[in-house]
Amino acid sequence: MAEFKSVLLVDDSATSRMIIQRCFEMAGIQVGGFICAENGLDALALLKCNSGIDLVVTDINMPKMDGRMFTRIVKGDPLYAKLALIVVSSIADGDAEAELRSLGAAAVVKKPVSPAKISEALGGLS
């Protein structure tokens, strides 16, 4: 079963962050702690000061900095080359998924999220 020291949840909706967190628990995924950000900009700041983060779960549609830009910046930075990042969004399918994967997202999960979807996405992490 997957295990993470620290997971950064990036979503402007507190409800969505809570649901994703609950899905991790229900899927039996061990997480040392969750850190939350409401947009990509805040998430970048949190990444810089939390070196223990080993997984990022981000939404796309957010104010200030959306998930596409956030993913592009993070995965374009050699410092975070090994950091696993998955996208969870209501509009992530088809070409959007292909685009996000080309930016470096390891998996793309379509909302509504479920424990099974999270397990499947994390199962693909190398």
Binding site: D12, S13, A14, T15, S16, M18, I19, N61, M62, P63, S89, S90, I91, D93, G94, D95, A96, E99, K110, K111, P112, S114
Partner: protein, 179 residues
């Protein structure tokens, strides 16, 4: 990108059918609630303003791509409370009262956030089902509607649901931007 070509207008009958199918699925997956469609209409003038019925909570999300339209969700306060109750747990989900304490403010935020997130997921599911995978989508952030002036644009499709005994109305509108 293998971009698909789409008609410049939404087909009201197809939109109504897809709303009827996707909304119950999202309600079930997100809130574990049964949403039964009870009436749908398209291509006709609205017989009544949803705000006059049980719709005390009204919100909308604008879809900008592949077509410009707005999805509105109206529901009773009781249903909004129930959704927050299910998602956050009953202890935190108290109804808003004047002179709110921190606990009731948190409950009100939970209710607002959970209904807006529900609408966000509804819109994504509708777009996926209507246009199919492989279509680039662009959604704005969901927001609350206040006042009848916000509902002047024509309705494309409108579906009423019975969500475990409480009403919810989903309306798809064309939108005219006013700059």
């Amino acid at each position: 990108m293998n971009e698909k070509k789409h008609s410049t207008v939404l087909d009201p009958e197809k939109a109504s059918l897809i709303l009827t199918e996707t909304i119950p699925a999202v309600f079930a997956e997100m809130t574990f609630m049964d949403a039964m469609p009870v009436a749908s209409s398209w291509g006709v003038a609205e017989s009544e303003d949803p705000a006059d019925t049980a719709a005390a909570v009204r919100m909308a999300i604008d879809m900008l791509m592949p077509l410009s339209c707005r999805l509105e969700l109206s529901m009773s306060s009781e249903l909004a409370d129930n959704i927050a109750d299910i998602l956050y747990g009953g202890a935190e989900a108290e109804s808003f009262t004047v002179g709110a304490t921190p606990a009731t403010i948190a409950a009100d935020q939970n209710r607002a956030d959970s209904t807006l997130e529900l609408l966000n997921v509804l819109a994504g599911s509708f777009l996926s089902a209507y246009f199919g995978a492989g279509t680039p989508f662009k959604l704005e952030l969901p927001f609350f509607l206040f006042g009848a002036s916000e509902v002047s644009d024509p309705s494309i499709a409108r579906v009423e649901f019975n969500v475990e005994g409480l009403p919810a109305i989903v309306t798809l509108r064309s939108i005219r931007y006013r700059y």
